[in-house]
Amino acid sequence: MKKYQLNKKQLPSFIDHLKKQGTVFAPHKKGDASYSFAKVVESDSVILEYNRTLNSIKKYFLPPRELLLSYSRKDNSYKKGTIGKEKKIFLGVHSYDMKAVLKLDYNFTEGNPEENYLLRRRNSSFIGVSFIPDEFHFSQSVGMPVHDTDGFDIYLEKNDDGYTVKIITEKGEKLIKEFNGLCDALDISSNHIQFQNKLKYNYNRLPEVFEQSWNAEVWEEVAKRCVGCGTCNLVCPTCYCFDVEDNMDLSLQNGTRDRSWDGCMLNDFAAVAGGENFRKSLADRQRHRIFRKFRYITYITGEPWCVGCGRCTAYCTAGISIVDIVNQLCDEYEQKYLNRPVEQSGLNLEGL
């Protein structure tokens, strides 16, 4: 692997160099204390040291709202929505968000490969950046250390003077080729970054826990505190459920068929005509959400479908923590099936 040193003050010119090769998307400040991926206009407004962005880069491949078709009711004709073919460069992606894209790749190609997703997804390059895990990140526990470079073309590892630039793929090599000003890599070995937040079991032990978790008590307990707002679904980088709706313009002749993100925590997600709702209670829906991340697709692919980004926890207004839920499942599992004393998992559900 080739390595270089990029000093802090070279960053804007590096970004300018990237901009010559495609549209660059990178984290920017948003609101008082948040971050969001956006198209880079001013290279010096990019922020590479951030905890997490509100939404992940999923939004570029599966947009929150997307036009599928535009139709005319007069003659029942329609056109597909157009999808740009521009070259996209994503700068400053954390390893868990990259992994989430690889997981979406599976969901959108498995069975029926979806054109909309794939057209958007192609022509993308990814430049990763290291991060300091905060109290919500736990990607290490699901098998993704900070410096996991899977999926990246280039990886930037923070050091005292700037970044160690690691060239991962040929595509990455090309991106950087004509940028002069890179120095030789400093002789520092990458430091292993610790996480404050951890699952009690490593991900490869979780299947045995989830095997026994259908009737766990935690579902009802969490449901008492949950308001069913769907935030945890919508912010998750590996959630991909959507709703489709037809909208008409005022001519009452023409309109669009649009899809938008949906979530299994919402009331009518599994409701059908005639009033039947296959997951009526919040407990059923919580279980579905968590099983979607740790059992259902995992059963088929062998991988957890949660990347440990911590968004569902950081943005839940009720403060419901996915780590606490999983850890409590581990405790219940130990108690019921392994007959071992329970260690405190830190979950405090008293007073509910």
Binding site: N76, E114, C241, V244
Partner: protein, 281 residues
């Protein structure tokens, strides 16, 4: 897991074929039958038990089972119950109107593997709609199959569908046909009682009988119990599930139960597969 994104051939999943309604019949107050012709009279190429996504611009899409047999050429048939917005607009369409069709989707009945077997059909209410595709398929390939036994139940005589087919099944000495309604009327001469009352009296060649059950969610529990009492092995039972659907192609997540997408792995399931899926029945 890394997938070579650029090598994958993409599919236009959401583009319906604009098709024409060529005949309509009203069965009951709530149900109508439609005959549909795809562009250039192309055949739909479905299996009995599969469904299509019907697309009405402005109203959206709905999954509807194909009710005609694949042996029928040049057109296919749907039977639609009016329950809400889209189905209401569908009911107002006339012969000559066009609708969008995507599909066929999902897994239907594996008619190949049923060859040589007796077929027991149990249909409750609108559940008869996909089963009629299977029934007609068996009738059209009669020599490939053993006995054909049809149990059909509806709430009232007014709610019975397919009056012409029912007469045909009744007259045919090649079909054992039993019908019941939950509540009779003074004119009703046939059985009254729920569909499970028809099961105990059947004389079946157990290991050689395939049972296909379709009905409302609540019916399954009771029918499965009766079938158990009758000692029909689970591996001979097939049933079809209904859930909310948006895409029909395994993407939108709405139809999921456990690790299974009903629009992909169903709607028809082999019962042993379902037994271990919590939330299924």
């Amino acid at each position: 897991m890394s997938i070579a994104i650029s090598d994958i051939k993409t599919q236009e999943l959401y583009s319906p074929d604009i098709s024409e309604i060529i005949a309509i019949k009203r069965f009951t107050e709530k149900e109508k039958w439609f005959e549909i012709r795809l562009p250039e009279g192309r055949s739909l190429g479905h299996q009995p038990g599969q469904f299509v996504q019907v697309s009405l611009f402005g109203a959206g899409e709905a999954p509807i089972s194909v009710t005609s047999s694949p042996t029928k050429e040049g057109s296919f048939e749907l039977c639609v119950r009016e329950v809400g917005m889209l189905t209401k607009i569908f009911h107002n369409l006339k012969v000559g109107s066009t609708i969008g069709i995507r599909g066929p989707y999902g897994k239907g009945f594996d008619v190949e593997s049923f060859k040589g077997k007796d077929i027991l059909i149990i249909g409750g209410g609108i559940g008869i709609v996909p089963l009629r595709s299977l029934i007609n398929y068996v009738i059209d390939n009669r020599k490939d199959y053993g006995r054909l036994i049809i149990l059909y139940g509806a709430k009232t005589p007014d709610e019975l569908l397919y009056p012409d087919d029912l007469k045909l099944w009744d007259k045919s000495n090649d079909i054992e046909y039993h019908i019941t309604v939950d509540q009779g009327t003074p004119e009703w001469k046939g059985n009254t009682g729920v569909i499970t009352t028809l099961i105990p009296g059947l004389d079946l060649d157990l290991p050689n009988t395939i049972t296909a059950v379709v009905g409302p969610p609540i019916m399954y529990k009771f029918v499965l119990m009766s079938l158990k009492t009758k000692r029909i092995p689970d591996k001979n039972i097939y049933l079809s599930l209904e859930r909310r659907m948006k895409c029909g192609v395994g993407k939108c997540g709405h139809c999921q139960i456990n690790h299974s997408y009903i629009c992909q792995d169903g709607p028809v399931y082999h019962y042993p597969e379902l037994k271990h899926l919590q939330e299924a029945i």
